[in-house]
């Protein structure tokens, strides 16, 4: 199955092209005229994972919006707000996660150009950076604990631990997704549809990862530049 | 089946309307200045509700009576709707509902968007599990300082600070005593969890939230004794967190407020006993 980059794209175009115009429905005047591709099969539509991940991101955004509004209200609600000094290791966190966004983007584009080994390599690199990120978060926690700052020490520290924990959990979820993708790189492409699914999954993972990156930046700014 | 359903719906409608129209279970008498406005607004609203309720149920009943299927092989009217009707009933409904909404803000505004009138008599109410503590400022008309470290549920429920001279004449009592026809401002606090101040005859309630001091004002217009209940779940004895509000003629009220803390309770109890609860 030495499919070349060109032929994969041709297949992808064929499937997307046929499905997007609404197929053979007589009244398909909009893209939403439903419609699968040609033939009598239930084809996988590439948009599925993309729609799914954006929907999931919407709900995660709501979670962090709720916590952020709690942060803002709590900041204003009394006079016991003593903002923490930022543990320096968080600069490492920020750098690492930014770089990991770049690496996952390279990995995704490699896959779309059917450069499997590059895809796997950059994916693994992203995962390693993800682990480093989580490690740096843990280091920040240890740093604060050494200073005697724990989750209930003051409201700002509460939010620090809370935000980093919830974000970190989502990063761990992302790492699981990366691990899953890495395992699947071993599987040779066995069908056009299988390959499309792989690309779809990798794209979704990349979107999710970029989201976590952006979210980290927001939290970082919120915790240490709006306090 | 259609006819029986229609009759059932109509009977339910009539019984429901009767339950309201008969006034058999109705508000207790309003005894605050803003009370009659609340009652008026309620009457307007419930009449609108009653008309809408009756019209919809009668319409539903009529439809299931008249349009039940029968053996004559006729088909239903094929119609996807009527845009003009949609617009019409949407606009009418919107006008009625928004008007009610706007009208329904007036009494709220008078109580919450305007400060208590000048010359209001200020009282502090501190709720706790499961009692009310009303603090009167005493002869000097100034509230003394309080602190949680001084609280003793038996002897000093609001935690008056003994070094503050202003608090020496403060009276703390479970009973809320107010003068008739004089604006009263309550400062509402809580020691532990959220409670809610509820005297049905006053036609308002207000939560007492720990960490907050919430102001609310009213003017009682009828002398008498009324029950005070808690209207926010506060624990296992929420249902018997009971006290009384006593509305006194101005002279009796003034005399009571002049008393020293040690004498307040006895006189207040005498007054309480001399009044009856309303007839229900």
């Amino acid at each position: 199955m030495a499919a070349t980059a060109t032929s994969t794209n041709q297949v992808v175009d064929a499937v997307i092209g046929a499905g997007g115009s609404g197929g053979r429905s007589g009244n398909g005047f909009r893209k939403n005229g439903g419609g699968h591709g040609d033939g009598d099969d239930f084809h996988y539509s590439p948009a599925r994972y993309r729609v799914g991940i954006w929907v999931a991101i919407a709900s995660i955004v709501m979670l962090f919006t709720a916590l952020t509004s709690a942060y803002i209200v709590r900041m204003a609600s009394s006079n016991d707000w003593t903002p923490l000094e930022m543990p320096k290791v968080l600069w490492l966190s920020t750098t690492v996660i930014l770089i990991s966004s770049v690496t996952i983007e390279i990995s995704k584009r490699s896959l779309k150009r059917a450069r499997d080994s590059q895809y796997g390599l950059w994916l693994a690199l992203t995962a390693v950076l993800g682990v480093v990120f989580v490690g740096s978060q843990y280091a920040a926690w240890r740093n604060l604990a050494r200073q005697g700052v724990y989750v209930a020490t003051n409201p700002h520290s509460s939010f620090f631990y809370l935000f980093t924990a919830v974000h970190g959990l989502h990063v761990l979820g992302g790492l699981l997704a990366l691990a899953y993708l890495l395992l699947r790189t071993r599987k040779k492409r066995d069908s056009v549809e299988g390959e499309l699914r792989r690309i779809g999954a990798a794209e979704a993972a990349a979107v999710y990862w970029h989201f976590l990156d952006g979210l980290w930046i927001c939290l970082f700014l919120l915790l240490f530049f709006w306090k | 089946m259609g006819r029986i359903l229609a009759i059932a719906i109509w009977v339910i409608t009539i019984l429901s309307l009767w339950m309201f129209l008969s006034h058999r279970w109705w508000f207790p008498e309003a005894i605050s200045e803003h009370g009659p406005s609340v009652d008026r607004q309620f009457m307007i609203t419930i009449i609108v509700c009653g008309i809408a309720f009756a019209a919809a149920q009668i319409g539903l009943g009529w439809a299931v009576w008249k349009y039940r299927d029968s053996a004559d092989k006729q088909r239903a009217t094929y119609s996807h709707g009527n845009n003009r009707l949609e617009v019409l009933w949407t606009v009418v409904t919107a006008i009625v509902f928004i008007s009610l909404a706007v009208m329904g803000q007036r009494v709220w505004a008078s109580l919450h968007l305007h400060a208590a009138p000048a010359g209001s008599y200020q009282l502090e109410v501190t709720a706790q599990q499961f009692a009310w503590n009303v603090r009167y400022p005493g002869k000097n008309n100034v509230f003394g300082k309080t602190d949680v470290q001084y609280i003793d549920d038996a002897t000093n429920p609001v935690g008056l600070v003994d070094t503050d001279a202003n608090g020496k004449d403060d009276v703390v009592s479970p009973t809320l005593v107010v003068p008739v026809n004089r604006p009263v401002e309550l400062i509402l606090k809580s020691k532990d969890v959220t409670h809610s101040f509820w005297v049905p005859q006053l036609r308002f309630k207000q939560d007492l939230v720990p960490g907050m001091a919430i102001h609310v004002h009213f003017t009682a217009t009828k002398v008498g004794k009324y029950e005070l209940a808690c209207a926010e779940l506060c624990g296992m004895n929420h249902f018997k967190m009971k006290s009384y509000m006593l509305v006194l003629p101005q002279s009796d009220f003034d005399a009571l407020m002049q008393l020293a803390p040690a004498d307040f309770g006895t006189k207040k109890n005498q007054l309480l006993d001399s009044y009856q609860l309303p007839q229900y």
Partner: protein, 631 residues
């Protein structure tokens, strides 16, 4: 379930063979739907038992109930319910019903089963996640049941006490006692604030948090499936209104449950980690100051909770509205009146539902200016609800109504929704809420809409889709009897609640005997209790009918016994594993083409191609859905 292997069945995954794969850990949306329905049927029994116990306590305080003495010796000593026992019933009744009944069956149950089929898909977008959504929800249910035992039993409670003071259990109640709304500081302070505030509350929070995750997984699936997997010709404006309802409900769930999850995390931290998100300083509880907490805001919880809580009630009712529209049209043999307006109304209710949460908080001490804004927005939501009611009546005008059991329940829905919804006009006004907040008037309102109308939607859906799910009909006679007693019964229970509210009767009181102003309520209280007991007992008939009919019900005469038009009625009953046996359906017309003049039957399936039998140019000029040509 003879699979249609002869049709060249092609599915993303092969049909399962082992019992566990087929019925337990199934990724088939149909099985998952039934699992949700069974979970709801179990939860509602628990909820109903709790409500009957509450009614008995209110009507005949001091009644000895032997079994309570055995099960809950501390909470109900001598078999007599204590005040805290009653409050734990209030809490768990609300939690069980709102989450595990009204947020499971309508959406996760019927939605899971029928959304993919009605849009012509072979399954949900993410079948594995779909299975996870059910099992996560189920774990949440188990944790909630555990909350009952952790509080109810000193031994089990003792296991938790070793985890710390805030985990102390064994108060003898049936769980936490903060109400389903769990306001702090009461819910945050722990056992020091009273019995039932220990392990039960922690487990309650954890159960709800788990439930949030399960719900979100479900919402993800619904939205992606609907956007991505509609079949040929199934444009958005040709979808049955059930699909629109499930779609909107999923969006509401997606955006509101995370906020509840956030609030729950903060509350749990306040309880077990010593934080002060919701607990202010200066508290004095049960004889001692509380030095540990300072600076928190009890109102913050209320905002977070109700930002979720209000969309939640629309999550509970919208699927019922969708089912009602669908079933009314089917048995009236008429297109739904104003399809476009109905879609608009569903969406408007859903979206506006995010901006009115403050009407639960008028008396809370929040800004009175925001209260005014919330009040006006709240009454605006009445407008799309009214549109739907008018359109239901419009659907019946000129109809040929067939009074089957599902139709009776759908008609009942309309009646009950009007009865319950109309008092929203009273409660939504700030000036009137002065009197009615936290009284039985509120309880009347939300029970009529959520506890009754919504349930009627579910009953209607059950009787309607039972033949499709199981290939047999439910017994019609039993169904009609069930309808009649329940319809009259629920009115008998909840209309008097308004009268109790008029007297000023507060909510969540375990006993009304302390206050003179409530003495005229006793007759009402008794009347309601009798009605409640009768109504609850007759539900046994429904359970019997449901279970018996699965095995012994009259076989459905064909795949479309109701002569309906939507895609689920084009496939066998029960459907094959991949729904459409490998053949992609094509949709040519809207979902409610009944009584089309000139057509051979009084219904035309959505999959029926245009043909000579139907004259051209039909479908009305108002562009409201017709056969799809016009829009």
């Amino acid at each position: 379930m003879a699979e249609a292997a002869t049709h060249g069945e092609v599915h993303r995954h092969p049909a399962p063979t082992s019992f566990i794969r087929k019925y337990i850990f199934s990724i088939d949306h149909k099985i998952i739907g039934i699992q949700y329905i069974l979970l709801a049927l179990t939860s509602v029994i628990i909820g109903m038992i709790m409500s009957v116990l509450m009614r008995i306590n209110l009507s005949w305080p001091g009644t000895h109930i032997k079994i309570l003495e055995t099960l809950f010796p501390q909470g109900a000593p001598g078999g007599v319910m204590s005040g805290e026992f009653y409050l734990s019933l209030v809490t768990m009744h609300g939690t069980m019903m709102v989450f595990f009944v009204l947020t499971t069956a309508p959406q996760g149950g019927f939605g899971n089963y029928f959304l993919p089929i009605q849009i012509g898909a072979d399954d949900m977008a993410f079948p594995f996640l779909n299975m996870m959504s059910f099992w996560v929800t189920f774990v949440g249910f188990i944790v909630l049941v555990l909350a009952i035992f952790a509080e109810g039993n000193a031994t089990v409670g003792g296991w938790f006490t070793s985890l710390g003071a805030s985990w102390a259990g064994g108060s003898g109640t049936v769980g936490p006692i903060g109400g389903w709304t769990g306001y702090p500081p009461l819910s945050a302070l722990g056992k020091v604030a009273g019995p039932g505030q220990g392990a039960g509350v922690n487990l309650w929070i954890i159960s709800i948090a788990i439930f949030c995750v399960g719900s979100l997984l479900g919402a993800l699936n619904f939205i992606t499936t609907l956007l991505n997997m509609r079949t040929r010709g199934m444009s958005l404006m040709r979808m049955p209104l059930t699909c629109w309802a499930w779609f909107t409900t999923a969006i509401l769930a997606l955006l509101s449950f995370p906020v509840l999850l956030g609030g729950g995390i903060l509350l749990l931290l306040d309880r077990i980690a010593g934080t002060s998100f919701f607990i202010p300083g200066g508290l004095y509880v049960s004889g001692a100051p509380v030095p540990l907490h300072t600076g928190g805001s009890p109102l913050l919880w209320q905002h977070l909770f109700w930002f979720f809580g209000h969309p939640e009630v629309y999550i509970a009712i919208l699927p019922g509205m969708g089912a009602t529209s669908h079933i009314l049209s089917t048995f009236a043999r008429k297109p739904i009146f104003g399809y476009r307006a109905m879609v608009f109304a569903i969406f408007a209710i859903g979206m506006l539902g995010f901006f009115v949460w403050g009407h639960h908080m008028f008396m809370s001490g929040m800004s009175p200016y925001s209260a005014v804004a919330f009040s006006i927005l709240t009454l605006s939501i009445g407008v799309p609800s009214a549109i739907k009611t008018f359109n239901w009546l419009g659907t019946l005008w000129g109809a040929r109504i067939r009074f089957t059991t599902p139709m009776l329940f759908a008609l009942g829905f309309v009646s009950l929704f009007v009865a319950g919804g109309i008092t929203g006009l009273v409660l939504g006004q700030t000036s009137l809420d002065f009197f009615f907040h936290d009284t039985y008037f509120v309880t009347a309102h939300f029970h009529l809409v959520m506890g009754v109308a919504s349930i009627f939607g579910m009953f209607a859906a059950t009787y309607f889709w039972f033949p499709k799910m199981f290939g047999r009909m439910m017994h019609e006679g039993m169904g009609k009897l069930h309808f009649w007693v329940t319809f009259l019964g629920v009115y008998a229970i909840f209309i008097p609640f308004h009268a109790m509210g008029m007297l000023g009767m507060p909510r969540r009181y375990s006993n009304f005997g302390e206050y003179e102003f409530l003495k005229n309520a006793h007759g009402l209280v008794l009347f309601v209790t009798i009605a409640a007991i009768v109504t609850v007992i007759v539900q046994l008939l429904f359970y019997f009918n449901f279970i018996w009919s699965i095995f012994k019900g009259k076989k459905a005469p064909n795949d479309n016994p109701w002569e309906a038009t939507t895609l689920e009625w084009t496939i066998p009953s029960p459907p094959p594993h991949d729904n459409f046996a490998g053949i992609v359906p094509t949709v040519y017309r809207g979902p409610y083409e009944f009584s089309v003049p000139g057509a051979p039957n009084d219904y035309i399936m959505q999959t029926e191609p245009e043909g000579a039998a139907v004259q051209a140019g039909l479908g009305d000029t108002s562009g409201n859905g017709g056969n799809g040509h016009k829009h």
